[in-house]
Symmetry: D2
Subunit: 296 residues, 4 copies
């Protein structure tokens, strides 16, 4: 399974009664599918997966599967804190049509999350999963780190096909590439360092930024692949303000607000999350001003 | 509701097939209830709550309620990442007989967890809860901090009766006491600083250490309350090695191993957690050697 | 050498031409010596020692020695990054009349500062020092930690008589006391946790707060020593706002501004440090309002 | 002043009596000058500058100036904690022949080191300096960060010609480049991310690694400049183990040990630093084995 490309980790719309809103969800997916994105990730961190219960997750997956053509990879986030819950969520996602699953590290019991524990957890999940598994390290949110040594060991599992590394450390990204087989997909999760990650061998990215600015993100990848480094670097710099704003400070509320500014309707975040304050919306509007984005 | 005293946050036993083991659970509670502990906390962090699904939680609460006499406070952990899931878990716990709920802060979306967000979250939960609510700050595991300013505002809510602060910072503990009403229960969660917390006004503690060494923990509280500071300090020092070992490094596996050493049978942790390595068990055995603990 | 008591780590006055101002320095010392403080520390962190050259240091030590009666301990900060420079500074301080030296850990080469390295460094210094040596751990500023294990080993050296621990971690403070001989002086450096430190066995403190509020700091120590814990705790709480403000956020500029508010004239900080902004002065004035401090 | 190139921050040799050893120093410089390095940095962090007094510094600068041809930039580290001491050291370095100075941020009073403070400090130094000034940010050792906003403001000063950023964060490196004028020299200080830094616009590096492996470091720069990205990336990966080992864990002792392995004689580190333990030397020898380095 080759995952060269740019994948948008899409948010989940809620209505004013704090319920999952499948109508808005389908409509948004249709719009993304009219653009150039390689594929979509549903129920990732930006999908507020930790705020969503299992029944809601099932309905979202079914709806997404219907809206995403089979020609584009449809990836579902299924990480849970316990191994058995992760296995259950993974099987359900596969049953409902996921092409692959993206499995965030467990992270609550930080002191116990050793390399051996990660290897055992992911091996159990990958053994049980009907579809290919992507590892997923997001230290800024989970508080734990999936070490390169663990990824290197897990990369030999026939059902583990890649890793999404959300940290911006390029030395680590480089080591992930060099310590895994050539066909193993190393995907960047940090938009501010996307170009640098491509320089050191990442094959693509799972970028919230690409949900808002799909075209420039795809173009950056193409420029880097074509060896047009000066143009790629210039584009990365142009993207930097938006890349920064959609990082941890603004989070999901920022992503939903930015999507609203370019014509998507993703509703409000689920409490305890709250909509982005007006000052944030203004900053996003200004940063977006540099791009030609035609609201649908 | 006065919570002066020492509460044990008890672990959840699993059998060899990774299932909740209610038989072991009831037996262990009966043994704790034969001792001097003020009360118990079920489904807290040490209860592996994040690894347990809602149906399992219901059965554990029902079983605990049957085994705990009404004369002793029975507290249930009900914190979830979303506000609505926390409300649901809280109502179910109350329906099943909890005397109070202990509600850990949400913490996944770290950048968005502001004082206002915490106040809104806990206010919604407390408004909806049929039983009194305890706030619960555990920065080392959640990666977010519930600020004193948030606790101070929430302490005026008629259904919020206290806070468990798991950090060892004594200046913060002191400020929690001085910025909340007199009847508000400030409980310490860090055993290495339990005596110091009592010195600055905490009324008691929720201490994993007390699940293993109930008598010395209760005695420390009594000595401090009686103004016998030299004896309290000496006892705190005697407890220090065990207090350190049951902290974040050994975690739940350490607590289960220590309980096993004093005659409890709590089974194994749930994967991805694994049993404590033998070197850890040896360290615990040595630290326990200083105490007269007669296995039941 | 017994150091039970409260020591003020006094700032160094500079004139408007960025020169050490010995006239202001002598005058300020005279005023402190009219009060109840146990003794003074010159050229500590709050004395801007890292901004002062060796000649200036010599003159400050000579001036302080003349102004401080021999009945009160006069301690000089002599820590440097290299062992040989620390030895030289220590000998000079002793030659010029210091009763003891306070030796901050070296900390620039963080990765290399192991327990063994600290033990070797302090042993060389203590072997060469004509006067007793106090260890000094200030992790927030140096970025390195002097481990309890290092202090415990060094406490057996006949010329090492104590430690100033500037961190507020009470479990560490307690372990410092219990892992060193009875006559070893454990001194607290963190005002917000001064009372808690006394509870667990510290014999006194080196507190910037005491340069401003000498009487309440001395009284807190006396109350704790007399077992009047309720009064001590109440006083600690009263001191808390000022204790917080004089911590790392306001630093030396804050200490100089606070001293100015109570009638001392300490001039301005040395560049790159700048005087405290007006908002900070206002906050200090308000926090000081609760105390009766009569400007000289 | 263009500083495109690779500069080695060379260590300072000490003899067995803890004295600066000018004979070894001159001999080592001669050897480096027989190789391809663009230039040298003397009295940087790796030169143990914080352990060296002013007289020693003067003699080292004079000796280096004699040994370095005027065709290669000779840069001297002159950062001190106080502004006035930094100005004095800078003037002395210029008097003794430095082509430029590299001025590490002050960092002791962490809470006070704001953007404004940095701007004022560096402006004063640059106004007074007879030679061009390079800013120098090394957060891992100083504990403070020189923000991009400060660099951007300082880059307009006619006597400030560049910055050495020792952190490995590539997004920051990219922002340094894009927020400063084209002729401003952004130099990388982190060997594990050297190639990625070049990708985002750094013009060169000040790399301890290049003291040991001058040829491969120079070649990496040339490959990147020539747009031969695949070869550059392959070389970066080959260098990674050595780049990692010469980072913060092994520090100056590691650099001296590695130089010894390739035929330099740099003596021992100055106490409190100690020679690298044998296990470290073995690791270095193994990592070096992949390179053809012919001892002189």
């Amino acid at each position: 399974m080759r995952l060269n490309g740019v994948f948008a980790p899409i948010p989940t719309p809620f209505d004013d009664h704090d319920r999952v809103d499948l109508v808005r969800f389908r409509k948004a997916i249709a719009r993304w599918m009219a653009g150039p994105l390689t594929g979509l990730v549903v129920l990732g961190s930006n999908g507020e997966a930790v705020l969503i219960d299992d029944d809601e997750a099932d309905r979202l997956i079914v709806a997404a599967r219907e809206a995403i053509p089979t020609s584009r990879p449809f990836i579902v986030g299924t990480g849970r804190e316990s191994t058995q819950a992760t296995v259950r969520a993974t099987k359900r996602a596969a049953d409902h049509g996921a092409d692959a699953v993206l499995v965030r590290t467990p992270g609550f019991f930080k002191g116990q999350m050793t390399t051996d524990v990660f290897v055992r957890h992911y091996t159990t999940v990958a053994d049980a999963s009907p579809v290919p598994v992507l590892l997923y390290n997001f230290t800024a949110l989970t508080g734990v780190n999936l070490p390169v040594a663990a990824v290197s060991r897990l990369a030999t599992h026939p059902n583990i096909v890649g890793v999404k590394e959300s940290g911006g450390d390029i030395a680590t990204m480089s080591e992930l590439v060099s310590s895994t087989p050539d066909q193993f997909n190393v995907l960047a999760g940090s938009a501010p360092t996307f170009y640098a990650a491509l320089c050191v061998g990442a094959v693509g990215g799972v970028l919230a930024l690409s949900a808002v600015l799909a075209e420039p993100c795809m173009r950056l990848l193409e420029l880097a692949n074509a060896g047009r480094h000066d143009e790629a670097l210039a584009l990365q710099r142009q993207l930097m303000p938006m890349a920064r704003l959609l990082g941890s400070a603004y989070g999901v509320p920022g992503l939903k607000a930015a999507l609203s500014l370019v014509g998507f309707d993703m509703g409000v975040p689920r409490p305890p999350l709250t909509p982005l304050p007006e000052a944030g919306v203004t900053a996003l509007r200004e940063a977006l001003g540099k791009f030609e984005v035609i609201p649908a």
